[in-house]
Symmetry: D2
């Protein structure tokens, strides 16, 4: 993700958009784009939603909105100095303690 963050930073700098890319604006933009991704699904049944990629127009929209969400998430992380992969790895470790797998002992895998 570091390489994508670098490309996004260069892209914004070349267009003098960095003045807008402050944490509060980027958090708002991330939320807006997540809404645009959800919009694709809002009237679909769970079954229709599961088949969303079968329609090429919808598939393009999904990829486009995923890209926008990831772009603003990475730019947000750059703006606050957070490493997103490290943050997620730490959270997975916390969640492994918080939500133990049924049937596994505290010492590790029950298998």
């Amino acid at each position: 993700m570091t390489e994508l963050q670098r490309r996004l930073t260069e892209f914004a700098a070349a267009r003098e958009w960095q003045q807008f890319h402050v944490p509060k604006n980027l958090a708002a933009a991330l939320s807006v784009e997540a809404g645009e991704l959800l919009e694709i699904f809002q009237w679909l049944t769970p079954e229709q939603a599961a088949a969303v990629m079968d329609d090429s127009e919808n598939a393009h929209r999904v990829r486009d909105e995923v890209a926008d969400v990831l772009a603003y998430l990475l730019q947000f992380c750059t703006s606050v100095g957070v490493d997103p992969a490290a943050a997620l790895a730490a959270k997975i470790e916390r969640n492994e303690l918080r939500f133990p797998v049924p049937g596994r002992g505290a010492g590790g895998d029950a298998g």
Copy 2:
């Protein structure tokens, strides 16, 4: 991101949560978590927002919500078979054509 996607898939499978992790639910959860990240900033001035990581409690909340957003984005991508890094790389290339840098010729860098 592929490794994080694999860990998230295993985490959900071990807890039998995959039944809930369908595209529509994951798009909704992603939007909800993006809202929780924005909540940290909603009453802050731009200056206070830029200094959000100076407060250790806020810094922890930011890392935690970044992890949640990334987790649901990656799980969403797994559920629809989209490669998020490839989607973003393709979008950056489209945007380089759509938003040309002022002062650069079509042939490349004006420098």
Copy 3:
């Protein structure tokens, strides 16, 4: 809604919260609260979602989040000087032209 807007304005003024209640912050807070309402439904099947009010704890959460969404919507409208009921009435009229009812002539009800 005018009476509720007045009560919300007095409530905020008495606590000196009006400094925070500027349009951008209120639009962000509205979006955050809409996310909290959606959170109640994110893992539910459509059938479980339709029965959400049968559970008294969920019913309380739904009423509480509806109140928060409406509160920030009304406070946003106060901050920008928009009459929400008039805005919606105008939109319904535009939508009646935009989405004509099948089987009804342009002159009115086909019945």
Copy 4:
């Protein structure tokens, strides 16, 4: 708001859209529209945001998105049988106890 709820119900029924207007979908649509309202503000400074209605195009967008948010909030309330004005009035009363006004005694207004 009851009259607007009735008009929205008739509008949807005439177009056979009620099948889509189930609580989970309406909560998602409400969140999506709140995001579209926020989008107008995402790159604005607080000062620019406070003057948003001075630009006639932005003013139209704001009224349009306010109408959409209110429409989905009211349709959501119809779908779950919640009275939004009553929910908000009850919340204001709870909040008056939860956030007492500084300098006012428990018996009422200090003035």
